[in-house]
């Protein structure tokens, strides 16, 4: 159920990673496309509680809560991103989806060594994205339960979302290749 054609590939500039870039408050977060199982449209983004898509239940939380900051006030284009990794599933409400991006592995940088805390486990690195940077989230950390956040067991009253409303990112967002040639 992951995005079509999203896996690491070998292009002219070498191996690449396809990622969905979203914003949550002040953070640009890149999620590996292999971990993105769908995007709910704006009309579904306000859904309260868990959602069920294709018989999979996704507990939904604000990504800002996961990242430990406040969401942008009055986000104009919020979405719910459905994520999964190693059998775990979660949905995240984000302020905006910026795009689907293919980044040459050589352009991905680890966090500077000055970051010495748990964040080294949260983020696999970063890359230059438009005028700023995007942090590459570790998929396993992303879908793991939050410490002290309680159980993510699916409750029985999950809102069912039809498959048509939970489109893979590749069907609604054009792919952007981030300067894959800039490796020299």
């Amino acid at each position: 159920m992951s995005l079509r054609g999203q896996t690491k590939s070998v292009a002219g500039a070498g191996a690449t990673e396809r990622m969905l870039v979203v914003t949550s408050g002040p953070v640009n977060l890149a999620i590996s496309a292999t971990a993105v199982e769908g995007i709910l449209p704006p009309e579904e983004a306000g859904a309260k509680g868990p959602v069920m898509v294709r018989e999979i239940t996704y507990p939904v939380t604000n990504l800002a809560q996961k990242l430990g900051h406040s969401s942008a006030a009055g986000a104009t284009d919020p979405r719910i991103i459905l994520c999964g990794s190693r059998g775990a599933h979660r949905g995240f409400r984000v302020d905006q989806v910026l795009g689907l991006t293919e980044v040459a592995i050589s352009l991905l940088s680890p966090l500077p060594p000055h970051f010495t805390g748990e964040e080294r486990r949260w983020f696999k690195g970063y890359f230059l994205y438009h005028e700023g940077v995007a942090l590459w989230a570790d998929s396993d950390w992303l879908v793991a339960p939050d410490p002290g956040g309680g159980s993510l067991e699916p409750p029985a009253d999950a809102a069912r979302i039809t498959v048509e409303h939970a489109k893979p990112a590749g069907e609604i967002i054009e792919l952007e290749v981030v300067d894959a040639e800039r490796t020299k």
Binding site: P26, L67, P112, P113, H114, F115, T116, E119, L128, V133
Partner: protein, 150 residues
């Protein structure tokens, strides 16, 4: 350096070239060799982090630096349109947001250096500039676990 002579004494034997800057209007200094440059502040990008005082990245063209929030450490607020001071820490350069006022280069005689009243592993020495006690910060190991009171 003479055998048995401490590095500290050796360093004090010469004049010190300092970069004097301010945060929240308070004058601070660092050795010029610990400063990589002064740039316009390009705006930082938040990084969720548990590392004290390191919660952002700043981008200048293709270069990305971690931001060390010295203002937060000192419980001060940067004044005016901020500038970016590039500090050379032992694990790599990092950006420090400082006041709008352009930093100054100052040479201080080693005999004018004295230890801070309150021992602080992040401060090498203090000196008097314009009648004000100015701490000289040890950027090379600022807030690192290996910080020492050299």
């Amino acid at each position: 350096m003479l055998k048995g002579q401490s590095k500290q004494v050796g360093e004090r034997a010469a004049n010190w070239s300092l970069m004097v800057f301010s945060i929240g209007g308070r004058m601070l200094a660092a050795r010029t060799e610990d400063v990589g440059g002064i740039l316009p502040w390009a705006g930082s990008m938040a990084v969720p982090s548990r590392t004290p005082y390191v919660h952002a990245l700043v981008r200048n063209g293709e270069a990305v630096l971690p931001v060390f929030d010295l203002a937060e450490m000192l419980q001060l607020h940067v004044q005016g349109a901020p500038m970016c001071l590039v500090a050379k820490r032992q694990d790599g350069p990092m950006a420090i947001c400082i006041d709008e006022a352009m930093p100054k280069l100052v040479t201080v005689e080693s005999t004018a250096l004295y230890p801070p009243v309150q021992p602080d592993p992040n401060i090498l020495w203090q000196c008097q500039l314009d009648g004000v006690a100015v701490p000289i910060y040890a950027f090379s190991h600022l807030a690192t676990p290996t910080v020492t009171t050299s």
